[in-house]
């Protein structure tokens, strides 16, 4: 594999985190235009931990994920009473607020004769943990996909559990969920927190993969894409948003002849899908169909034995 392919694959992996983050909120019926804020917070926090405090990367990822999760829970609690458009706009406003704050944050420390830390609009340079340890791109990609697999397994288990049902209930009809005895306030905040943690992990990895981050990267387009991935790939299973990422970053990025027209193709794809498959390629119906198909296959196999 050449570096280009590895970079594309790594990007798919890292963007998948924010896609899963937005997906989780879509399950609960909330359209967040602000998951990029938690991706950004995770990136800055993790970068600060490894580049400024010189701690290992797992500490950076942990701090980034926890900070993003905590902030997300606070924002979730504040926006609890909002729904629909009002919720979406408040998440967007918060994310822009975070981005604009990062534009003016200027905190640097001297590390081995060099100033390291967030420098406002110039970004946060010198997050070189990966290079200082001579990690290859492939090794870092494996780290990305290892963590992604972990998050995915947690989400898939969650979907089979009561928690997953509760999240889908909130998305289906939150008043009815409340009538069934679900403490909707608690579960909304929990969903916001988990989504924040997932985005934070992605951001932490991103900061170390690119070695520098700037506030501009965490603008609203990242959040819009994150949302679109779930809507393209489908809301029936956590694999849905990953398919969405693969289609956009993998296919559209790779197909060079539509370079420059990529956003037009992407936008059109989203529009067409929303009209014909409002809950994406892998929606609940198709997931059910696939499951029975698999169940029948494995049943037939065990019969033959």
């Amino acid at each position: 594999m050449d570096d280009y392919v590895i970079t594309v694959l790594s990007n798919i992996g890292m963007i998948s985190f924010i896609a899963l983050s937005a997906y989780l909120l879509l399950l609960t019926g909330e359209i967040s235009f602000g998951q990029q804020a938690y991706f950004g917070l995770g990136a800055y926090a993790a970068g600060a931990v490894t580049a400024m405090l010189l701690l290992p990367i797992w500490a950076g990822i942990l701090v980034g994920a926890c900070l993003a999760g905590l902030v997300a829970m606070v924002v979730g609690a504040l926006t609890l009473r909002l729904s629909g458009l009002y919720f979406s706009i408040s998440t967007l406003a918060f994310a822009e607020m975070v981005r604009l704050i990062l534009l003016i944050v200027h905190v640097q420390v001297e590390v081995e004769g060099e100033m390291v830390g967030p420098a406002g609009a110039e970004g946060f340079h010198g997050i070189r943990w990966m290079f200082e340890r001579d990690l290859s791109l492939v090794q870092f990609m494996l780290l990305i996909y290892g963590l992604l697999a972990l998050v995915l397994i947690v989400l898939l288990l969650m979907e089979r559990s009561r928690l997953g049902s509760v999240f889908r209930m909130l998305g289906s009809d939150d008043l009815l969920a409340e009538m069934q005895g679900v403490d909707t306030v608690r579960y909304r905040i929990l969903a916001a927190g988990v989504a924040g943690v997932i985005a934070g992990i992605g951001g932490a990895l991103y900061a170390h993969f690119t070695t520098y981050v700037e506030p501009q990267f965490f603008n609203v387009m990242l959040g819009v894409h994150a949302l679109a991935y779930g809507l393209i790939g489908g809301l029936g299973t956590a694999f849905g948003p990953l398919i969405g990422v693969a289609i956009d970053v993998g296919f559209l990025e790779a197909v060079r002849f539509i370079q420059g027209y990529r956003m037009i193709v992407f936008g059109g794809l989203v529009a067409v899908l929303l009209v014909f498959m409002p809950r994406g390629l892998l929606d609940e119906e198709r997931v059910h169909w696939l499951r029975t198909l698999f169940a029948r296959r494995s049943h037939a196999r065990s019969q033959r034995r």
């Binding site: 009561r162 969920a177 009538m179 005895g181 059910h288």
Partner: protein
């Protein structure tokens, strides 16, 4: 078991319920009947904690539950099966049922639940893994009822269970409610379907424009001339000579 006193509910200045008092004793089927917009659903929503009343007391076993959030009311054994918005379409039938089961501390359907389901709701038992959105209207109504029962409530609030059902299905649902009462369930039933409802219920309250205009034993109400002439006469079909010619 349930004691509602002087309930007042208004929506943006419009008074929907004005001083309603009613009682439900353990093991009874009590019905609230009345035309559209009389305030029947508002009363159920107030009891279930969906919308706090403006004034009035709601006591469950002598303890005030008025103003508690809905999930806290459910935790006290009161389950509402709402009208219209019935099921979680994106969940499977079984997941819908589990939602109810969780209320009494479980998540997986027990074998007792499954056999009960097969007995009471045979149509659902075969469709457990189907997405609930694929059910017919009647099946969805059955699922909502089954999910409500899965939580093993002490008091079941039923809002228009016959809505959108064929006469045959309505009869099945009502027969089911009767059997559940015989097993010890207490039911507060809101209906427009007056004759069948009063045939099922032990006692009834007639609600008109937010006030209770009549109440008593269901059999008495059914033979009450005021009710027959003012309301029943229109609803269940008066003798043919009183129907105006078209």
């Amino acid at each position: 078991m349930l004691d509602v006193r002087g309930l007042h509910i208004s929506y943006g200045g419009v008074r929907a319920v004005q001083g309603v008092s009613l009682e439900v004793s353990t093991g009874e089927i009590v019905s609230i009947i009345g035309p559209n917009g009389a305030g029947k659903t508002s009363i159920l929503n107030a009891i279930a904690g969906i919308r706090p009343p403006d004034r009035g007391e709601i006591l469950l076993d002598g303890r005030a539950i008025g103003g508690l959030p809905a999930h806290a009311v459910v935790a006290r054994g009161v389950m509402q099966v709402p009208e219209g918005r019935l099921i979680f379409g994106t969940l499977s039938v079984e997941e819908n049922l589990r939602v109810g089961a969780h209320q009494r501390g479980g998540f997986i359907l027990r074998s007792r639940d499954r056999s009960g389901l097969r007995r009471l709701f045979p149509a659902l038992a075969d469709k457990l893994d189907r997405p609930a959105a694929s059910l017919s209207g009647g099946e969805a109504q059955m699922l909502a009822l089954a999910r409500g029962l899965e939580s093993e409530p002490r008091l079941l609030l039923l809002d228009e269970p016959s809505l959108g059902l064929s006469p045959k299905l309505t009869e099945e649902v009502f027969e089911l409610i009767r059997r559940l009462r015989d097993r010890g369930l207490t039911v507060l039933l809101v209906e427009q379907n007056v004759r069948q409802t009063l045939a099922l219920a032990d006692r009834g309250y007639v609600l008109e424009s937010g006030r209770i205009t009549l109440h008593g034993a269901a059999a008495e109400l059914l033979s009450d001339e005021r009710l027959v002439s003012s309301y029943l006469g229109v609803s269940v079909g008066a003798p043919s000579h009183r129907v105006p010619n078209r």
